[in-house]
């Protein structure tokens, strides 16, 4: 395994970990419940590592991306339901990301939100059309490393480290009213959904096939998912913790995506603000591209079309048309005037409903020795996989009632 490849892979995973939903939910969670939800981020990240590693391993050994497995394992009917649900979920998420990028560009430049959203979409189309897969992923992932300013800012504001540390212990804060308990539960489910977004698995597994991963890449896969996702999640923990320290006492429950950048402005002034905005810009932009491509991958794999950025656009025309149409649809949603934060909230709720259907075929295939040979799930992967699957099912069942009872976490 080349050290350069490994380092770039990990850094790309770190810089690409955060998207607009995580920015919004982590900041609100910290403001509302201080450090009491840190443990949920850790729990969800481990789940992401487990399923991310599985999807990379299946892509490398069985040479199967997620949606091929989906249809084969679940059958046409259930596969079609999953496909439609994930197309809707990813399109809403893509719209939230494009809206987030539009807002950040507006805050950086002063130019109007609408022209910035349209310009950003045009840049995304050009990026996918022109760049090979590896450089699509790396460009935004590496530039997303500006997000590290959030971790540095947390250290600079000197939070109460003892209290912060207690957040890593699974807990339900004492003395919560019934309504607060429901809202706490909603944020826990939302954090699980935001960290384990299904589009990340579709993109990661399809990317592994784009890069022609084989048995020799299993180590890279394991390190990328464990180290990369682990370090990336520290950024989301930092956003939550800074919010607890800065926003909670000020009565701020961030209602605008740009508010998170204040976490870097407080200790570092204009330089910190600029770095934070740049980090948010590239992290969210990367997510916009990933969600769009995830839809193109899903649809193409489900119907057996030629797919992938390793092919020129005209060599995979239906795949190309799909991602073009997804960007147009997502931009259209943004231009209707729906707030990006509202889109991010809808995306999180719809996505958690899709998760059980997404991960079941992956779990089954990763444990199937006839496809995976000696690389089938061992007892650790099996135990963790099924435990997390149970957690995801419970979260999926609770998501909609909690969303309705707490009015999207606002009560």
């Amino acid at each position: 395994m080349k050290i350069t490849e490994l380092t770039l892979g990990i850094l790309t995973a770190v810089g690409g970990f955060v998207d607009v939903s995580e920015l919004v939910f982590m900041a609100q969670a910290g403001s509302r419940f201080q450090y009491a939800l840190v443990w949920v981020i850790v729990l969800a990240t481990i789940g992401m590592m487990v399923f991310g590693e599985m999807s990379g391993r299946v892509a490398a050994i069985a040479k199967q991306p997620v949606f091929n497995m989906m249809r084969h394992r679940l059958g046409l009917n259930l596969g079609l339901v999953t496909l439609i649900a994930s197309l809707i979920s990813n399109t809403i998420t893509c719209a939230a990301e494009i809206g987030g990028v539009g807002i950040v560009l507006h805050l950086l430049t002063g130019f109007g939100f609408v022209p910035m959203a349209i310009a950003a979409t045009a840049v995304f189309v050009a990026t996918i059309w022109l760049l090979p897969f590896k450089w699509i992923e790396r460009t935004y992932g590496l530039l997303g490393l500006f997000m590290i300013v959030f971790a540095v800012a947390l250290v600079a504001i000197e939070p109460p480290w003892g209290q912060f540390a207690t957040g890593f212990v699974p807990q339900v804060p004492a003395g919560l009213s019934t309504q607060d308990l429901l809202t706490y539960s909603y944020f826990a489910v939302a954090i699980v959904s935001a960290v384990m977004f299904p589009y990340e698995t579709y993109f990661y597994s399809s990317g592994a096939i784009e890069e022609k991963w084989g048995e020799k890449d299993l180590g890279l896969n394991r390190l990328t998912t464990i180290v990369g996702f682990g370090l990336g999640s520290l950024l989301t923990v930092a956003i939550l913790a800074s919010s607890a320290q800065l926003f909670g006492p000020a009565g701020v429950n961030p209602e605008m995506p740009g508010t998170a950048a204040l976490q870097a402005a407080v200790p570092f002034g204009r330089t910190g603000l600029l770095l934070a905005l740049l980090g948010m810009l590239f992290a969210i932009a990367g997510a916009a591209i990933e969600t769009c491509l995830a839809n193109a991958y899903s649809l193409s794999q489900f119907f057996g079309w030629r797919w992938g950025r390793r092919l020129k656009p005209h060599e995979a025309p239906r795949f190309t048309l799909v991602w073009l149409v997804v960007f147009i649809l997502a931009l259209g949603i943004v231009l209707t005037g729906v707030e990006p934060i509202a889109l991010a909230e809808y995306a999180v709720v719809v996505s958690i409903l899709v998760l059980p259907l997404t991960y079941l075929p992956l779990l089954l295939l990763a444990g199937d020795k006839s496809y995976m040979r000696q690389h089938a799930n061992g007892w650790i992967a099996k135990t963790l996989g099924w435990a997390y699957y149970a957690l995801i099912v419970v979260a999926a069942l609770a998501a909609l009632p909690l969303f309705l009872l707490t009015e999207g976490g606002k009560l």
Binding site: G75, N77, V252, M256, G269, L404, K410
Partner: protein, 117 residues
């Protein structure tokens, strides 16, 4: 294998999601949102006065918050009631941390009164 998918059940869930997502916020949720927006305006104004923010950012955040406050007021069941007038007052304030902080406190009081009802 083609599993026997309960298609109708899936449709019901889809309709519930659509209905939930289209749900109009209750007045309490709207007031909480407005209180937070007021606090965000105050925080941005304070940091801007300390020269910690870029002009485009400060202006963009203040304008965005005002737009959302105006929208929040229109969502109330009584836009011209006590809560509506308090929200309107905060939306009309200049980008000055002191008055904005007071405005946020007033909204917090309205919020507390609603919660205790």
């Amino acid at each position: 294998m083609d599993s026997g998918v309960p298609a109708r059940a899936i449709m019901v869930v889809a309709l519930l999601i659509a209905g939930g997502c289209g749900q109009v916020s209750s007045d309490l949720a709207t007031i909480k949102t407005a209180r937070s927006l007021a606090a965000e305006r105050a925080l941005v104004a304070r940091l801007n006065a300390q020269s910690k923010l870029r002009p485009a950012y400060s202006k963009g955040m203040q304008r965005g918050a005002v737009q959302q406050l105006v929208a929040a007021r229109s969502q109330l069941s009584q836009p011209d009631g006590r809560a509506g007038r308090a929200i309107g007052a905060v939306a009309a304030l200049p980008d000055d941390a002191g008055p904005l902080r007071l405005g946020a406190h007033r909204l917090a009081a309205v919020e507390a009164q609603r919660e205790n009802h």
